[in-house]
C-alpha cells in the first residue's frame, strides 16, 4: 500500500493500478483530475451589478483549485473513507463521482449505479400522494416508469405506508416521509453508496430495516464511500482511506496511516492509543483492528428502548463481525439481541413477553449501581444459568472486570459465545456446568452472582442456594417465579407440639418440559414461595435480604408478584 505525500511524489498514483487485480472489480477511477473554478473575485449576485461592473471593467476573475491532480481508484465492496476539513475538496470529489460536475482536467470513470446521499424526502412534493411521489422520486433517481412499476409493491411494503399511499404527502409524519424516501432510494442495490456521517436513517422502528438493507448491500458487493471529518470513524470502519487538503490528495492507504498523517499535520491529539502512534513500523499492512466497539444492545434503562444510529455507525461493523452476525441471524433466540449492525435477531418470545429481559436488567443494574456506584471495573461476576448469555454480556458491556456465564447446555454456551464474539467482548467467558451438580470449590468466588430464572427448575433448590452462597463474595441476585404461600403451623410429632411454617415449596411435574430440547434438566422441580426463599437466604447466612421492586410498567408477572427478584448480601 503506497503512502503518498505531495513532496514524495508529485503525481500520486495509487499502487493498486499496478497490481494485477482484475479491472472488473474497479468501480470508480479518477485519473489526474483537477477542478478549477473561475469565479469573480467578489461575489456578484445580481445581473444589474454584473453589467455595471462589466461596463466599468471591474470584474476580476480569479481561479480557485477545488481539486488538483487527484488520482484515485475504488474497488468493489470496499469501504473507503475520505477525510479532510471543510473546503478540502471532499464534496467536489463527490460531485464528480456522482456526475453532478465534470472535471476541468483529467478523467472520471464510474461503473454502476450510485445511490446518492439525498436528505430523506428530497424531491418529494407535499401535495402529491405517496403513490405519485414514488413515481416522481423513482424517475428522478433514473429509473424508468416501467421499472418503478415493478419496484412499486416492494417500496410500499418496505416503507410501511399502507393505506396512506394515496393520501397527500403533507399528511405524512416525518418518519413516514423518511421511510418512503429511503425505500425509493434503495429499491435496488446500488453499486456505490455514498454515506455522509451526519445522515441519519429515519425513525427508530424503521432503523433496523434500513440497517438490514445496507448490510445486505455491503455483503453483495456495494462499495461504500464515506465522507467525514471524523478520523476516528475512518479508522474504525474503513478498509482504505484518503486525505484531502486544499484540493490535493495528501495520502491514500491504510486508515490508521492516513489518520496518523492527518493528525501530524494538524497537531491534533490522535484518537489512536499512545503505543500505536509511537510504533515506528507503519509499513506493515496489518488490518486495522476495530476497537472493541462498546456494543449497542442496551444503553438506557429499558433494554428495548431503541437508539438512533447513523448510517455510518451501521456500516462501522467489520466484515468478520458481519459474518458472525449472519450466523446469529440464522438462529432463533430467547433474547431479542440487537446486533451491532442494527439488525435484530429472531426472538421466539413475543415482544410483550420479551420485555421481561429489559425489566430484569434494569432491576439488576439498579441494585449494582446502588451497591457499587457507576464504576464496575473491579467486579467479578457469575451468571448462573446464563442461557444465551444476555445478562453476562450486559455486565461485560458495563466494563465488569471478569464475567463468567455458567450453563448446563453446550448449545447455550455456544450461542452465548457467538454473541460475545459479535460484540467483541474480552471480559466475559462461558462455561459448561450445572449449578445443582458442581463443586463450589471448582470456581473462584465472585463479587456478584446472578441467578435469574434458575431456581424454579431445581429439584434441590436448597442445595443450589448453598452452592450459590459459597460462590458469592458480596451480592447474590435471584429472580424466579414463586409458589403460592401457605401460612400457619403444623403438628410436630404430637397434637401439642407445633412448628410454624417458614413458607411453602411447590412440587411441580416438569416431565413435559424435560422432553423439550431446551426445557428442563429434571422431571421434577421444587419451587419456593416468596416467604420461604427470603427466610432460607437469611438462614443460609446472608446478612440482609431485600426485595427488588420492578418499575410499574414492567412485565405483568413481575408487577403482580408472581415472579420476584431478591438481593441477598453476604
Amino acid at each position: 500500500m503506497s503512502l503518498l505525500t505531495e513532496s514524495d511524489n508529485p503525481k500520486p498514483v495509487d499502487k493498486l493500478t499496478e497490481t494485477a487485480a482484475s479491472d472488473d472489480d474497479m468501480v470508480i477511477r479518477l485519473e489526474n483530475v483537477s477542478v478549477v473554478y473561475q469565479a469573480p473575485r467578489e461575489r456578484i449576485k445580481t445581473f444589474k451589478e454584473y453589467v455595471i461592473r462589466k461596463v466599468k471593467r471591474q470584474v476580476e476573475h480569479q481561479q480557485f483549485n477545488a481539486l488538483s491532480d487527484v488520482s484515485l481508484e475504488l474497488r468493489r465492496s470496499e469501504v473507503f473513507g475520505l477525510i479532510g476539513h471543510n473546503g478540502a475538496g471532499k464534496s467536489t470529489l463527490l460531485k464528480l463521482v456522482s456526475r453532478v460536475m465534470r472535471p476541468t482536467r483529467g478523467r472520471v470513470w464510474v461503473k454502476g449505479r450510485i445511490a446518492p446521499l439525498l436528505e430523506l424526502g428530497a424531491g418529494f412534493h407535499p401535495e402529491l400522494s405517496g403513490r405519485e411521489n414514488i413515481f416522481l422520486n423513482g424517475t428522478l433517481l433514473g429509473y424508468s416508469r416501467a421499472e418503478v412499476e415493478k419496484l412499486f409493491d416492494g417500496i410500499v411494503e418496505f416503507s410501511e405506508i399502507g393505506d396512506f399511499i394515496d393520501a397527500p404527502l403533507r399528511t405524512y409524519s416525518t418518519g413516514m416521509t423518511g421511510r418512503l424516501g429511503f425505500a425509493v432510494a434503495t429499491a435496488t442495490r446500488p453499486d456505490i453508496l455514498i454515506v455522509d456521517e451526519v445522515l441519519s436513517v429515519g425513525d427508530e422502528q424503521f432503523q433496523e430495516k434500513c440497517a438490514e438493507r445496507i448490510t445486505d448491500f455491503r455483503q453483495q458487493g456495494t462499495t461504500i464511500l464515506l465522507v467525514t471529518h471524523s478520523s476516528e470513524l475512518v479508522q474504525r470502519i474503513c478498509d482504505r482511506a484518503a486525505w484531502l487538503d486544499h484540493g490535493k490528495l495528501c495520502g491514500i492507504g491504510q486508515p490508521a496511516e492516513i489518520v496518523h498523517l492527518y493528525h501530524e499535520r494538524y497537531h491534533l491529539t490522535s484518537p489512536v492509543t499512545e503505543s500505536e502512534i509511537v510504533e515506528p513500523e507503519p509499513i506493515e499492512p496489518k488490518p486495522v483492528e476495530a476497537e472493541p466497539v462498546v456494543a449497542k444492545v442496551i444503553v438506557t434503562e429499558d433494554f428495548l428502548a431503541e437508539e438512533t444510529e447513523t448510517l455510518s455507525e451501521i456500516i462501522a461493523v467489520s466484515r468478520e463481525v458481519l459474518a458472525l452476525e449472519q450466523q446469529a441471524l440464522e438462529k432463533e433466540w430467547f433474547y431479542p439481541y440487537r446486533l451491532p449492525s442494527g439488525r435484530k435477531v429472531q426472538c421466539y418470545l413475543p415482544p410483550e413477553i420479551a420485555i421481561i429481559h429489559g425489566n430484569r436488567w434494569a432491576m439488576v443494574k439498579t441494585v449494582l449501581r446502588q451497591t457499587f456506584g457507576q464504576d464496575w471495573s473491579q467486579l467479578d461476576c457469575l451468571d448462573i444459568g446464563c442461557n444465551q448469555g444476555f445478562f453476562s454480556v450486559k455486565l461485560a458491556e458495563h466494563d465488569c472486570r471478569n464475567v463468567v456465564g455458567l450453563d448446563a447446555r453446550q448449545q447455550n454456551i455456544d450461542d452465548a459465545d457467538l454473541i460475545r464474539q459479535i460484540y467483541e467482548l474480552n471480559n466475559v467467558s462461558f462455561r459448561l456446568g450445572d449449578i445443582s451438580k458442581i463443586e463450589p470449590t471448582s470456581l473462584p468466588q465472585f463479587d456478584v452472582t446472578l441467578m435469574l430464572s434458575v431456581l424454579f427448575w431445581q429439584e434441590n433448590p436448597i442445595g443450589v442456594l448453598r452452592t450459590a452462597k459459597a460462590l458469592t463474595k458480596n451480592l447474590l441476585v435471584i429472580e424466579t417465579p414463586v409458589a403460592p404461600e401457605i401460612f400457619g403451623e403444623m403438628d410436630w410429632g404430637s397434637r401439642e407440639v407445633h412448628k410454624p411454617l417458614q413458607g411453602s415449596f411447590a412440587l411441580l411435574d416438569l416431565t413435559e418440559e424435560s422432553k423439550r430440547p431446551l426445557g428442563s434438566l429434571t422431571e421434577l422441580s421444587f419451587c419456593p414461595g416468596r416467604e420461604s426463599l427470603i427466610w432460607l437466604l437469611q438462614k443460609l447466612g446472608f446478612s440482609s435480604v431485600e426485595l427488588v421492586l420492578p418499575a410499574p410498567d414492567a412485565y405483568e408477572q413481575l408487577t403482580s408478584g408472581s415472579r420476584m427478584m431478591v438481593v441477598a448480601r453476604v
Binding site: K95, L96, R99, V100, V110, K111, L118, R145
Partner: protein, 287 residues
C-alpha cells in the same frame, strides 16, 4: 496510460449491462444532453404531471381554472376594447383569446423553466439529472395548458360565429414553432438565471413590456406604419400571426410571416440548446 484505458474498455465490454460513466467521452455536450433528456423522458412526464396536478390540487374548480382563466380575461378585454376603445376587429373575442392563449404558452414556458431550475438546484447538487429537463418540463406543462385553453377558444368561436375551417388542421405547426422558440428562450434565460438571482424578476418586467408591444389584445392594424419595422423584429408577433391565421382567416399566414417565425424558432432553439448545454455542468454549483 493508453494501456490502462484499453483495460477499462475491456472491462466495459465484459459488464455491458452496467451503466458506465466516463467523463472523457463527453465531447459533445449538446448531443449528450439530448441523449440524456431522452433517457429521462419518464421523469419528464412525471414532472409535467406533477406541475399540472399540484397547481390545482387544492382548488375546488381544479383544472377548470386553466380554461376559465383566459376566458375571463377575454371577457374583460372584449368589454374594454369593443365598448371603450371601439376597435373594429372582426371576431374580437376569438382574436384576443387566441393571442392570450399563445402568449401565455410562451410566457409560462420561459418563466416556468427558470423557477423549476432554481427549485431543482438542491437536487442537481446531489444527483445527476439532465439539466434541460426543467426547461422541457416547463414547456410540457404550458403545452398541456395551451391545449386545454383551445377548448374555450373553440367554444367562443362557435358562439361568436367564427367558421371552423379545414385550415385548423395545420394548427400544430404554429404551436410547434412557438414551442421551439419558447424552449430556446427558456434555455438561454435558465443559464443566465443560474448565475444571477435577479434575472427572473427583471424578465417578468420585460415580459410585460413585450406583451404590450405585441398585437395580442389590440388589432395589428392600429400599429403606425413607421413602427412596423420594430414589430417585424418581434418573433412573437409572427408566431401569433401564424397561430391566428388558420383560426380566424382560415388559411396559412403570408409566406414572409411563416418564414420569419420558422427562422426565429429554429435559430433560437439551436442557439439556446448549444448555449445551455455548453455550461450545463456548471449550473449545479451556481444555483
Amino acid at each position: 496510460m493508453s494501456a490502462q484505458i484499453n483495460k477499462i474498455n475491456f472491462a466495459e465490454r465484459q459488464s455491458a449491462k452496467m451503466q458506465v460513466y466516463d467523463s472523457a467521452l463527453l465531447n459533445n455536450p449538446a448531443l449528450s444532453e439530448l441523449k440524456d433528456l431522452w433517457q429521462y423522458r419518464d421523469l419528464l412526464m412525471q414532472l409535467i404531471a406533477r406541475n399540472i396536478k399540484t397547481r390545482y390540487k387544492r382548488s375546488v374548480l381544479g383544472i377548470l381554472w386553466t380554461m376559465l382563466n383566459p376566458l375571463l380575461m377575454m371577457l374583460v378585454l372584449t368589454f374594454v376594447f369593443s365598448n371603450v376603445f371601439r376597435f373594429q376587429q372582426p371576431h374580437y373575442a376569438a382574436y384576443a383569446l387566441a393571442g392570450v392563449a399563445l402568449w401565455n404558452f410562451f410566457a409560462q414556458t420561459t418563466t416556468g423553466a427558470m423557477s423549476e431550475l432554481i427549485w431543482g438546484g438542491n437536487l442537481m447538487n446531489k444527483i445527476y439529472l439532465p439539466r434541460s429537463i426543467f426547461a422541457a418540463s416547463a414547456l410540457g406543462t404550458s403545452l398541456v395548458n395551451l391545449l386545454l385553453t383551445l377548448i374555450p377558444l373553440f367554444v367562443v368561436m362557435a358562439i361568436t360565429g367564427v367558421p371552423f375551417r379545414p385550415a385548423l388542421l395545420i394548427l400544430p405547426l404554429p404551436i410547434l414553432l412557438t414551442a421551439m422558440f419558447a424552449l430556446g428562450v427558456a434555455l438561454i434565460l435558465s443559464r443566465v438565471a443560474a448565475y444571477f438571482a435577479d434575472v427572473l424578476e427583471m424578465y417578468q418586467i420585460f415580459l410585460t413590456a413585450w406583451m404590450y408591444l405585441t398585437p395580442i389584445i389590440y388589432p395589428k392594424e392600429i400599429i403606425s406604419p413607421d413602427l412596423q419595422w420594430l414589430f417585424n423584429l418581434n418573433p412573437m408577433y409572427h408566431l401569433i400571426e401564424i397561430f391566428r391565421a388558420p383560426l380566424l382567416i382560415g388559411w396559412l399566414a403570408g409566406p414572409k410571416t411563416v418564414l420569419a417565425s420558422t427562422a426565429a424558432a429554429v435559430v433560437t432553439l439551436a442557439f439556446g440548446w448549444w448555449y445551455f448545454s455548453r455550461k450545463a455542468d456548471e449550473l449545479a454549483y451556481r444555483i
